[in-house]
Each structure stands twice: as structure tokens, then as C-alpha cells.
């Protein structure tokens, strides 16, 4: 032991001496921007939940990222690169540099997600971080990327805050948000269920739940609905029976479940168990609404989702060219259709690469400038714009419902309506998004 | 006027009357033995002295101060130490540390946030603990972990721990139980010398009559929760009440 220590000491002293003698060896970060790629490759950081409740979504996101990298480097069939309206991407990497990637586990905890992102930036030299499957994590990592001077391309994050009060100049979101869910759903709900409805909300008791509930309540109330009650449910709830039971005699005829993931599966299961769907209240059929749907979760909820309305960012059964190309290359590689989480992360990767090409640099400020106000098409959502004011993508939103007669285990949702962009658009200073400040872009220099 | 005066103490557990009108007077500087058949209430009585139990009625006065409702550590701080029937020692600590702890308690009181001194630089404590270990003949084993010692050694260690505090009153609950003959002899010698040197008052609960009669200067006999006789040792032998109480259980 002592031998080892002594040898270690000698080595250290020698190196320290060398360092003092040749101060030029010490380099502080004075490059033009954080992690400017120097060799023939560029490193992207894919930060997704690999453990915890959203691990399946994380796994699907990772598949999409790998597919995107393959396409960017010229492998595979090119996927949506062929249908993308911008033709800058040539399949030779980004700006001629081969795309490499590192992966990390967010554990769906802001602390762990930031640790993972930091290690990508500090250790692996990642020039862009992307991923995440919950808003808390997305906002936390977005803040980190702003400080570190790298671009953050948000994955699945639905809270208004991501591009509202917590928006950052270095952060970009392709996914839709709570406000858009409300704005897209409300007209459909009105058309199907009528104007005169009493809604009972069960809301996950944390930031995302609150903004989601606020958005839906506002949108439905504008259509004449009445919000009977809004009950906050603890995140850790596994059995929602005690929250669902009071709905029966509350006089409400619609139950809105502002839940996501396991919460949504459990609350929906409880609601169906209590026979809510078979009830007739106020001479109307009792209905359940799940504003934010995801196919993976719908699958977890099984039979219970049949006929239940909700909204999603994208669904594989769309028939535009972009979607078809993506579903084909994803499906052929992995054997099943991609989820919306996979779609948004794939698109974000392409958008980032394309922005680098157009900006001619990896410098976050250049990339951000190229993304701001960028209008594109062919990526599965129709014409889309990255709004410069808040870095939120504006595009059509899908209203879906649980399919009555699924033909396969992936075929659980059907698209009911594609709500056009104009209906879900809002002013950047809308009260639900106010209070934030994009700030200036940070390149880390 | 005794150092410990017990007046009309009653204690019952549910319906069982463990102690009934117990009166006891332990004189300062004497060795006082409490004997009696199993279940007579000896240990219950001892527990009432150290704050483990609180009598239902009656008084326990130590040096004119009531011990009732006072916490065990406070009773110790006024000068009452106890040796248990099965040795209560700090079995994961070394023998030396075992003896240092009561020395600290004696010097620093019930609580001192003495977090920055080194135990090793507390000279007075160390000297005192060493002396004590010499007295009980354990100085060779000072660095042993207490749990690895023999039962007899553990008892001696516990006695050393109690004596190192120089208590005014030492309560001994069967100090020689389960000891080999030689160990018993040496323990008796130890207690005698200590008592002569330091004039510590002792109250002993004991089954071994040999030990009782070689140590005690006064004896109380407890039966069915009451003191039936209290007298000098020579008068206890052959006392009819005592015989009756033991019913030949022990050779009195």
C-alpha cells in the first residue's frame, strides 16, 4: 500500500512540476463555443429515462435517436430526410462530420437528468442534448444547457412552462403543450358531447398537472362547459378509487383525467371499474376524457381506453408521406411502429442537424438563429413553424380516441380529427405562458 | 439516620402485589444484604431505587432527597450505582473504554458536548480508569473487547465501572451469581477491601448465603413483598420467621 502511495506521489509531483514549468499546457475553455467539435465527428447527447416509470418511452426515444443518427450518417433508407422540406441534409453526417452519440439515464428525476446531461457535456463533449419524458426533467435540463452553452432539443414535454415561464434561448420544443391539447380537444368534445356538460377534473398534484388542468378547463369552459370540481391527486397514488368514487354522485357527466403515465393508467382503470362509462347522468352518457394520450400508455390501460378522447402530437397511422417514410424505416428496423415520443425525438434530431447545416456551424447561437422562425414540412405534422418568440413548434394537433376494434396490439388509437394550427395558436404573451424570459443565447464562450 | 430510607413502599403489577409496605433503612458505610426466596420482590425493590420502576405509594429517600420520579441517570448522578444480575457492560467497546465512560460521567455530568477533545489526552480520566482496572485485576486485559471476556471478568468489569464513580451507595444484584468458587472468593475480597478503603455503602441482593454472611453487616429478609425481619447477621441465622419463609429452600 505504502509503495503504491509513494509511487503515486512521485508521479503527481512530476506532473504538477511539468504543469508549472509549461503553463501553456493548461488550457481554459476559450474555444469559440462549448464543445466545438474538433475531429471528424460530432457528439450528440441522448438523455432519456432508462429506469423508472417512463423507461419504455425512453427506450422508444432511444430507438428513434439511433435511427436518426443512422440516417444522418447515410445509413438505412434515409427515413424522413427524404420527405423533409429542407434538403440540406446529405447523409454525410452534419457539416461533413460523422454523427456519434452518447446516452444517459434521466431516471425521470431532475437531479439525475442534470447529472447525466452534465457528464455528456463535460466528459463526452456533447454539443447538443436532447430527450426527456417529463416536463420537470425537460425544464431542468433546458436550464442546464442554457448555462453550459449547448443546444437543448426537448423530447416529450407537454407542460406549458417549457416554452412559457421557463423558456430558454438555447432550448427548443417540437412537442405540443397543454394549451394546444385543450384548444384542439374542446371543439371536438363540444361537437360530440354537446355544450351543456359538467366536468369533474382529477389532476396530478404537480406543475404539469396544474397547467394541463388550467388549459383544458379554460378551453372547455369557453365552449360552455361547467367545471364542477377539480381534485388534486398525489403523484404517488396507486389506487384512485377514493378519488373516483365521489364522482358518481357529484352531478358531473364528464370526468377529465389530467394524469400521465402510470397515474393515467391507474386512474382510468379505477374509473372504468366503478362503472362510470356505463352511467347516465343528467340524461347524458357519462364520458371520460384523457387530454394527453400516448400509445404506450393507452396500451397499458388496455380495453379501458376504448372510445375515450384525447390528444397526441403524432400517430403512426397518419397517411402523409413523412409519416409513411418514418413508420416504414422504424418498423422495418424494430418490428413495430414508433410512438409519438420516438417521432418527436427523431424529428428534433433532424431539425437540429438541418439547422447546423443551414447555419454552417455548431455554434449554439448560430443554430438557434437558424431554428428561430424556421418553417418546414414533411416531418409528419404538416406545415410547421418554430416560433422565434418562445421556441415552440406550431403545427396541427391530433385528436384521437381509443379504438373500438383494434386489429393489433399497436392499433389502440384512431385519429378522429386533425385540428389545424390556427385553432391551437396563441400569442407569446398569453397569460398561461407569461412570466418567462427567453434571454440571450449562450454559446459558452 | 440511614443513607437510604424506604418507607411504606407498595408496588403491584395488575393484581399481583409485588411489594407491600416495605420499610428499609440502610445505614451509611455499611454493607446491607437483602435476602429472600425467589419471587419475594427483591429485584422489584432494587428497581424502585434506581428509577426503573416507580412505587405506587411510599417514599424512597436518599440522603434526605426523594428518588421517586427521578430519571435513572439523575439518580446515578446523586451517587447511586448499580451492578446488574447479568452484567450490563458496553460489550462492543474495549475494557479500558468501558471504565473511562463512568469516569467521564462522574467528571462531566449527565451531558457535555465534548466533541473536540481527544479521549487520549484526558489524563485524569485515564489515570483513574487505569487505577480502577488495577484494583479489579483487569489491567492486562485493558484493550480487549468487553464481549470477548469471561463472565466472571465481565462482572468484575461492571463492578469496576460502578466503583470508579465512587458512589455513595452501591447496589449489587447477585454479584456472584454463576461465578466459580475462586471468583466468588476474590469478589468478596474485592468488595471488602473497597468498602473498608472507600467506606461505600452497599446494598446486596444475594442467594449465596456464604457470600451474604461473609459480607453483610445487616440483613433484611424479604418474603412475599414484605420485610419480615431486619437484623444483624448473627440474629438472622436460625430466625424462625426466616426458616418459615424459605421452607427449607436454602440452608439458613
Amino acid at each position: 500500500m505504502s509503495n503504491f502511495t509513494r509511487r503515486g506521489l512521485l508521479k503527481t509531483t512530476a506532473i504538477a512540476g511539468a504543469g508549472l514549468a509549461m503553463p501553456t499546457l493548461i488550457t481554459s475553455p476559450v474555444a469559440a463555443y462549448t464543445n466545438a467539435p474538433t475531429g471528424g465527428s460530432v457528439t450528440l447527447g441522448f438523455n432519456v429515462p432508462q429506469t423508472g416509470p417512463y423507461a419504455d418511452e425512453g427506450a422508444d426515444e432511444l430507438r428513434a435517436y439511433q435511427l436518426a443518427v443512422e440516417h444522418l450518417n447515410g445509413g438505412g433508407d434515409g427515413g424522413m430526410m427524404n420527405t423533409f422540406s429542407s434538403k440540406e441534409l446529405k447523409g454525410n453526417g452534419i457539416l461533413g462530420k460523422k454523427v456519434e452519440y452518447v446516452t444517459g439515464d434521466t431516471q425521470t428525476k431532475s437531479d439525475a437528468a442534470r447529472a447525466s446531461a452534465k457528464s455528456m457535456i463535460e466528459k463526452d463533449g456533447a454539443v447538443m442534448i436532447t430527450g426527456g419524458s417529463s416536463s420537470g426533467v425537460a425544464i431542468a435540463v433546458q436550464g442546464l444547457c442554457q448555462e453550459a452553452g449547448v443546444i437543448f432539443m426537448a423530447g416529450l414535454t407537454h407542460s406549458n412552462d417549457t416554452t412559457g415561464k421557463d423558456k430558454k434561448a438555447n432550448g427548443f420544443r417540437h412537442f405540443f403543450n397543454g394549451y394546444m391539447s385543450g384548444a384542439a380537444l374542446a371543439p371536438v368534445l363540444e361537437a360530440r358531447y354537446g355544450k351543456d356538460r359538467n366536468a369533474y377534473h382529477l389532476t396530478a398534484d404537480y406543475t404539469w398537472g396544474w397547467t394541463q388542468q388550467e388549459s383544458i378547463a379554460a378551453a372547455t369552459e369557453a365552449k360552455g362547459w361547467n367545471t364542477v370540481n377539480n381534485v388534486l391527486t398525489p403523484l404517488a397514488t396507486t389506487d384512485f378509487s377514493s378519488y373516483v368514487a365521489p364522482v358518481l354522485n357529484s352531478g358531473a357527466d364528464v370526468l377529465v383525467l389530467n394524469h400521465y403515465g402510470g397515474n393515467m393508467i391507474n386512474s382510468l382503470t379505477s374509473a372504468v371499474q366503478f362503472g362510470l362509462r356505463d352511467k347516465v347522468v343528467n340524461n347524458k352518457n357519462f364520458e371520460i376524457v384523457v387530454p394527453l394520450y400516448s400509445r404506450l400508455m393507452a396500451r397499458g390501460a388496455g380495453e379501458n381506453v376504448k372510445g375515450i378522447f384525447g390528444s397526441t402530437n403524432w400517430h403512426w397511422s397518419l397517411t402523409d408521406e413523412g409519416t409513411k417514410a418514418f413508420v416504414k424505416s422504424f418498423g422495418e428496423k424494430y418490428g413495430f411502429p414508433p410512438s409519438q415520443a420516438a417521432h418527436t425525438t427523431y424529428v428534433q434530431t433532424l431539425l437540429y442537424a438541418d439547422a447546423c447545416e443551414r447555419a454552417g456551424t455548431f455554434n449554439p447561437c448560430g443554430v438557434a438563429e437558424a431554428l428561430e422562425g424556421f418553417k418546414f414540412d414533411g416531418l409528419g405534422n404538416g406545415p410547421t413553424e418554430y416560433r422565434a418568440e418562445d421556441h415552440q413548434c406550431f403545427k396541427d394537433v391530433l385528436v384521437v380516441k381509443g379504438k373500438e376494434n383494434p386489429t393489433s396490439e399497436f392499433d389502440v388509437l384512431e385519429v378522429v380529427e386533425i385540428t389545424p394550427r390556427a385553432q391551437v395558436e396563441y400569442a407569446p404573451d398569453h397569460p398561461m405562458f407569461a412570466g418567462g424570459n427567453l434571454g440571450a443565447c449562450n454559446s459558452g464562450a | 439516620m440511614g443513607i437510604l430510607e424506604v418507607n411504606n413502599v407498595n408496588k403491584s403489577f395488575g393484581g399481583l402485589k409485588a411489594l407491600q409496605n416495605v420499610n428499609l433503612d440502610i445505614e451509611e458505610g455499611k454493607i446491607h444484604a437483602i435476602i429472600g426466596p425467589n419471587g419475594a420482590g427483591k429485584s422489584t425493590l432494587l428497581n424502585c431505587f434506581v428509577g426503573k420502576l416507580v412505587p405506587d405509594t411510599g417514599t424512597v429517600m436518599f440522603n434526605g432527597q426523594s428518588l421517586l420520579g427521578i430519571k435513572p441517570h439523575e439518580i446515578n448522578q446523586v451517587g447511586v450505582s448499580r451492578v446488574f444480575q447479568t452484567p450490563e457492560i458496553f460489550s462492543e467497546l474495549s475494557v479500558f473504554e468501558n471504565v473511562m465512560i463512568p469516569c467521564f460521567a462522574k467528571r462531566d455530568g449527565a451531558f457535555t458536548l465534548n466533541a473536540l477533545n481527544r479521549v487520549h489526552s484526558e489524563q485524569d480520566i485515564r489515570e483513574r480508569a487505569e487505577e480502577m482496572l488495577v484494583d479489579v485485576n483487569l489491567i492486562d486485559k485493558r484493550d480487549m473487547i468487553a464481549s470477548s471476556m469471561s463472565r466472571g471478568d465481565k462482572r468484575r468489569l461492571e463492578m469496576a465501572m460502578c466503583l470508579s464513580q465512587q458512589p455513595k451507595l452501591l447496589l449489587l444484584d447477585e454479584p456472584t451469581a454463576g461465578m466459580a468458587r475462586a471468583d466468588t472468593e476474590s469478589t468478596i475480597e474485592l468488595l471488602k477491601t473497597i468498602q473498608e478503603r472507600l467506606k461505600i455503602t452497599m446494598a446486596i441482593i444475594e442467594h449465596d448465603m456464604g457470600v451474604v454472611f461473609s459480607l453483610a453487616q445487616k440483613i433484611s429478609v424479604l418474603a412475599q413483598g414484605t420485610v419480615i425481619v431486619e437484623d444483624l447477621p448473627e440474629n438472622i441465622k436460625g430466625h424462625p420467621k426466616v426458616k418459615e419463609a424459605y421452607l427449607g429452600e436454602a440452608q439458613v
Binding site: 500500500m1 502511495t5 503515486g8 503527481t12 506532473i15 499546457l25 432508462q50 429506469t51 423507461a55 425512453g58 427506450a59 432511444l62 452519440y101 446516452t103 444517459g104 439515464d105 428525476k109 431532475s110 437531479d111 442534470r114 447529472a115 447525466s116 457528464s119 455528456m120 463535460e122 466528459k123 416536463s135 420537470g136 425544464i139 431542468a140 436550464g143 442546464l144 398534484d205 404537480y206 406543475t207 404539469w208 388534486l232 398525489p234 403523484l235 424570459n437 | 435513572p72 441517570h73 446515578n76 450505582s81 457492560i89 458496553f90 460489550s91 467497546l93 473504554e97 465512560i101 467521564f104 449527565a110 451531558f111 458536548l113 466533541a115 473536540l116 477533545n117 481527544r118 479521549v119 465501572m161
Partner: protein
């Protein structure tokens, strides 16, 4: 230093050496080599080693010495972090006020919780602390959002008051101008060693925390704490009031946790509620037991061990594995990668679980026992070497 025994001095010097040389020791593999994946010498992870080390050292003062198993220590870590971030928001980005407040607030908080919880012992005490911590977490995540920013975590916004700051002030955490995020890279051949200011600040606190714990271990106070663990009854009958001792230990370890939380927030100014959850408390317990409860260095090792796995193993994906085994024939390569991919990347939890079991089964005293065994083996080997060829071994 004067007040330490020789062996303790050596331990302390060892810790100081490790702390200073960490950027070298943790970066043994050249950049770009396959093994570089295992390098841990980057600022964030080194900082984590240091402040989780502080946390574990503090926990060990309670658990290792008194045996009271608190399952709610993460709560103190959390309030420490929140206090520090609030100081950043209200005053400015200098870390000193934040650290001071985090220690004070955690101290007060642990005094309250400790005062109540220490009325019980054993598992009843554990559950009481767990209950308090879970309540803190649940409230921080939901109702206390105005104070904690709930799910997202408390962070510094540009429009915060920050009364001590003007336009020219540094906008990132700093110590009188030394920015926590500043890193100097020393390139030697293919190696790149990173020296980060934040890490060295944390290391300084780690050394100070270690020194303090060394003093406590060797003090009469520490002796009393150990006595509480082995026999509380005897201690009571020896005239010692055990409650103030346990409470003092609880508060001291709570303040350690608060300091760790403050450092955590200083290195990365965001305080998430999850760091108060029972899993976080459990992690502290695991760190301590894994390293060796009651030993001086053990808990630090345990903390490093868990954080290393969390941050290094979770990042090894199949592409990396294929990179490592590319030299093998394809079939064999795929087979090996297929087996290994269960244990790394998304399977890092599995590895961690298996290692927990393996360590506690084979090394009952934790990692410290492992270190001891290696030490003994080494000594024996050297002793043998000495007898066979006395000339070659230099004197001590």
C-alpha cells in the same frame, strides 16, 4: 493536527492526497481509448463524490456511532439545497451565504425532527424519520411549490431580486469571483485532466468534514455515542443522559447533510424535490452500510461507489459495447454484447442490486473490509517477500 494520533494523521493525509489528486486518479485511461468510458475525472462526478462524501460522513456520525438508523436524512439534504438556492435568488451568486444558511436551516430542521423522533428507538425511530421526510417530500412536490417550484425544482431566474448583484456581477455560482464551473484542462499526451474550481471547493469541505468527524470519533463525545450503540441501559445507569447525546449527533449529522445540500446547489443551482424522497434517504443508508458503517472512510467509499455506478454504468450503451468487442468474431461479439447489455445502460440498476448483495454477502463489513483484506494480503505477501529476499525490500 496536533490533536490527532499518528494513525489518524496518516488517514487524514491519505484523504487529503486522494482529494487533491482525484483529477489524476479518476482519469487513468487516455482520452479516446475504449476504456475512457470508465474515467470518472470530470467535474460533475468529482463534485458529486465530494458532496455525497460529506453527506455520508455526516450520516455515519449518527448511524455509525449511535446505531440510530435515520430513514429521512434526505430531507435535510433537500432543505439545505432549497436554502442555498433561495440565497442565490435573493442575495446573489456568491456561495457563502447559501452554504451558511443551508447549514443553519438544516440544523434547525433536524433539531425539530430529531427532538420528536428520538423519543423512540430502533425501527420506530426509523419510521418516524421516514414519515417526516416523506411528508417533506410530498409537500415540497405539491403544496409548497411557491417555495420549492415543485416538480421542476427551484432555480434562479433573471428577474429574481438578487440584491447584491448588478450588471457586472457574475451570474453563476462563485466564491468571491472564483466561478464554480471554471475548469482548467491539463493535456498530457493523450490524457486530459480536468481541474475544476467547484470540485476543489467541495474537496476542501470534504476534508474539513472528514477532519471534524475524525475529531468527533476520537472525542469523549464520540465515545459516549458509541456507548449508546452498544448499551443504552448501562449508560443511563452510569449517570449519562443519552437523549441530548443522540440529539446532538442527529443535529450534527443533519447539518452535514445541509452542508452537502448547499454544496450540491452551489455546484448546480437547481434544487429538485426528488432529493428528499425516501429513495434518496435510502441511498444514503446504502452508501454508509456499503462502505462500512462506523468506519471513518467507509461511507465516503460507499458514496463514491454508488455515484460511480449511477453515472458511469448508466451511460454504457450497446454501441459502446460493440466498440469494445469489435475485435472479436461477429457471432461471439454479438453474444457477449447481448449478455452484457443486461447489466449496463438501462440495466445499470441490475448491476447495482447484484453488487449490493455480493458485497453484503462476501464482505460483511462493507467495502472497508474489502480494503482491509487486500491490505492484509498485501502485508502478508510483503512479509513473505521480506523473508525470502530481505535485500530487495526497502525499509519502511
Amino acid at each position: 493536527m496536533k490533536s490527532l494520533a499518528k494513525s489518524d494523521k496518516r488517514t487524514l493525509l491519505f484523504v487529503i492526497f486522494i482529494a487533491i489528486a482525484a483529477p489524476f486518479l479518476l482519469n487513468p485511461f487516455p482520452e479516446g481509448s475504449a476504456m475512457a468510458q470508465f474515467n470518472a475525472g470530470y467535474p460533475d462526478l468529482m463534485q458529486r463524490f465530494a458532496y455525497f462524501g460529506v453527506l455520508a460522513i455526516g450520516f455515519n456520525i449518527l448511524f455509525g456511532l449511535t446505531g440510530y438508523l435515520s430513514f429521512g436524512h434526505a430531507a435535510f439534504l433537500g432543505v439545505g439545497s432549497y436554502s442555498a438556492v433561495w440565497m442565490f435568488k435573493l442575495l446573489g451568486m456568491n456561495i457563502i451565504p447559501g452554504l451558511i444558511l443551508s447549514v443553519i436551516v438544516a440544523g434547525i430542521f433536524s433539531l425539530l425532527i430529531g427532538y420528536i423522533s428520538l423519543r423512540r428507538s430502533g425501527i420506530y425511530f426509523s419510521i418516524l424519520t421516514l414519515a417526516f421526510a416523506q411528508m417533506s417530500f410530498a409537500m415540497a412536490y405539491s403544496v409548497l411549490t411557491p417555495l420549492t417550484n415543485g416538480e421542476t425544482g427551484l432555480q434562479v431566474y433573471a428577474d429574481d431580486p438578487q440584491v447584491f448583484m448588478n450588471e457586472n456581477s457574475i451570474a453563476v455560482p462563485h466564491l468571491f469571483g472564483l466561478k464554480m464551473q471554471d475548469t482548467f484542462t491539463l493535456d498530457i499526451g493523450p490524457w486530459a485532466f480536468q481541474f475544476n474550481i467547484g470540485y476543489y471547493i467541495c474537496a476542501l469541505f470534504l476534508i474539513a468534514a472528514f477532519y471534524m468527524s475524525l475529531r468527533i470519533f476520537r472525542s469523549p463525545f464520540g465515545l459516549m455515542l458509541r456507548a449508546i450503540k452498544t448499551n443504552q441501559t448501562r449508560l443511563n445507569y452510569t449517570g449519562i443522559n443519552t437523549r441530548p447525546y443522540t440529539l446532538a449527533a442527529f443535529v450534527i449529522s443533519g447539518m452535514y447533510a445541509g452542508l452537502a445540500g448547499g454544496l450540491m446547489a452551489s455546484m448546480d443551482p437547481l434544487a429538485g424535490a426528488e432529493r428528499m424522497q425516501w429513495t434518496a434517504s435510502g441511498e444514503i443508508v446504502l452508501m454508509t452500510i456499503l462502505g462500512g458503517a462506523g468506519t471513518l472512510i467507509g461511507p465516503v467509499l460507499g458514496a463514491g461507489f454508488i455515484k460511480y455506478f449511477e453515472n458511469i454504468f448508466s451511460k454504457i450503451n450497446e454501441t459502446v459495447l460493440h466498440g469494445w468487442f469489435a475485435f472479436l468474431p461477429d457471432g461471439l461479439e454479438n453474444a457477449i454484447v447481448w449478455v452484457l447489455h443486461f447489466f449496463v445502460g438501462k440495466g445499470w440498476h441490475l448491476t447495482l442490486g447484484l453488487l449490493f448483495m455480493a458485497i453484503v454477502i462476501f464482505l460483511p463489513g462493507g467495502l472497508m473490509e474489502g480494503a482491509q483484506r487486500i491490505g492484509n494480503w498485501w502485508k502478508n505477501r510483503r512479509a513473505k517477500g521480506k523473508t525470502s529476499s530481505a535485500k530487495t525490500t526497502p525499509a519502511e
